[in-house]
């Protein structure tokens, strides 16, 4: 289980009221396999009859319209970029995440504040500032960090992809003229940021290179501890025959 609220540069966290729901987060570089694992977890929870809601990074409808215009013309500076993502997050948080948690849902988040902590800092934003911007967000009940060697993640993404988008490749950082090389360096730096915050934030580190089924089993065993006891008993039994 993750430790209680960290102090210092990670900022003050919203205190959790009597929450019935649970917030489960997956993090990792692109190609780490986190999304598949979250999807399988969702399936499992639904099968158990748990009310579930999944939310993805950068998916707010309102903010999407506005952000893409800027992205196409490559006009966004790191601060603006960071704040737009924060806006997207805030919309999903206020509209969906918090209300659903309060009503007893299990909210599964594909990426959470840690993505901003890693990416925005790599882009050059002040570390402390980013944490303060996101300080309103509630602390998750579990943070699964899917650890893969950067090359593995990069390969998974680039296989079958003919084009990388400008910001996706980190081209705004002038790491390389070649977008594939830029992407590699960019992902590598993000990976370093994740690793550096892992202990302090209480990540449950998952080996993203293992077979999918094995990872999922691992994940389910952790999530078992978050289920209401009657459900946990049933689920535990099922898992042992997984």
């Amino acid at each position: 289980m993750p430790p209680t609220s960290p102090t210092g540069v990670t900022g003050r966290w919203a205190t959790r009221e009597k929450q019935v729901g649970r917030l489960i987060v997956v993090e990792g570089i692109d190609g780490s396999g986190k999304s598949i694992q979250l999807h399988l977890l969702e399936k499992w929870l639904r099968h158990l009859g748990v009310p579930v809601f999944t939310t993805e990074w950068n998916s707010s409808v309102i903010v999407k319209e506005i952000t893409s215009k800027g992205k196409k013309s490559a006009l966004l500076t790191p601060t603006t970029f960071s704040l737009l993502h924060a806006t997207d997050f805030a919309d999903r948080y206020e509209r969906n995440i918090l209300p659903l948690l309060n009503s007893g849902y299990f909210v599964l988040a594909d990426r959470y504040v840690y993505t901003a902590y890693a990416r925005d800092v790599v882009r050059g934003c002040n570390r402390r500032w980013v944490r303060r911007v996101y300080s309103f967000a509630i602390r998750p009940d579990a943070i699964f960090y899917f650890n893969v060697p950067v090359e593995v993640g990069v390969k998974r993404i680039l296989t079958g992809r003919t084009k990388l988008k400008f910001y996706e490749a980190g081209m705004d950082l002038n790491l390389s003229n070649n977008e594939y090389e830029s992407y590699r360096i960019f992902q590598s730096r993000i990976n370093e940021e994740y690793m550096a915050m892992s202990d302090k934030e209480g990540f449950i580190v998952m080996n993203g290179v293992l077979e999918i089924e094995l990872q999922q089993r691992n994940m389910r065993e952790h999530v078992l501890k978050l289920l209401p006891s009657e459900l946990a008993a049933v689920a535990s039994l099922e898992l042992s025959t997984f």
């Binding site: 924060a86 805030a90 509209r95």
Partner: protein
């Protein structure tokens, strides 16, 4: 906010709608330009990138207060980095029709922690001069209604459920905003200007202070 050593000057005019802010900005701009200064005007919601989106979004769906605050901050960051800073570096006088203070006040009045709003704008540049055009709320209401025979939803605090009618809502809201600005006077060095007076009197006051400031620094 960060201090800096750049050639240009950042002068901010704050105040509610109806305080004569925009009029004063125009008058001051004309005067400064006639004296040979290069002047650039900026304002909230004028970013080409995000501005239109905010207006659309406000109409379409109710946005949460955090979301709205961050939206404005993103828009502001864009303007700061693409317009204000380059102009200052080129030696312009940047005359800002509102700055972060209105944004901080609006958020605080809506229940967001003051400290959070303050921290949010940590990336911004400290202005050289900030004037707050203070007007009695009743007078404001009268002026606003004369101008547009209607009240802006957010400027009346209508989203806050303060009163049954827009007039009372407006007055209560404006007093709350005034209180926030009073607090910011001490914290950020805002200069209060009595804008209940006629336009030309306010202008003489403002222009005098600006001219003195610019001369002291050359």
């Amino acid at each position: 906010m960060k201090g800096r050593t750049i050639k240009g000057r950042l002068i901010v005019l704050e105040g509610p709608d109806g305080s004569g802010r925009s009029t004063q900005v125009d008058l001051i701009t004309t005067k400064l330009e006639s004296e040979g200064h290069a002047v650039m005007n900026t304002g909230l919601k004028r970013s080409e990138l995000i501005g239109r989106g905010i207006l659309q979004a406000k109409q379409k769906l109710p946005l949460g207060k955090m979301t709205l605050a961050l939206f404005y901050a993103a828009d502001f960051a864009d303007q700061l980095e693409h317009k204000i800073i380059p102009a200052l570096e080129a030696g312009y006088i940047v005359l800002a029709d509102r700055y972060i203070f209105t944004l901080i006040a609006r958020s605080t009045v809506r229940g967001l922690p003051r400290k959070w709003s303050h921290d949010l704008f940590g990336f911004t540049i400290r202005p050289d001069l900030v004037f707050y055009l203070d007007v009695d709320p009743d007078e404001l209401f009268h002026r606003v209604f004369q101008k547009s025979s209607g009240l802006d939803y957010y400027e009346s605090g209508a989203d806050l459920g303060l009163a049954d009618d827009l007039y009372h809502s407006f007055v209560i809201y404006q007093r709350m905003m005034e209180k926030e600005f009073k607090l910011m006077e001490k914290k950020y060095g805002l200069v209060p200007i009595d804008a209940n007076r006629p336009i030309d009197q306010v202008n003489v006051d403002l222009q005098g202070r600006i001219t003195r400031y610019l001369h002291e620094r050359t």
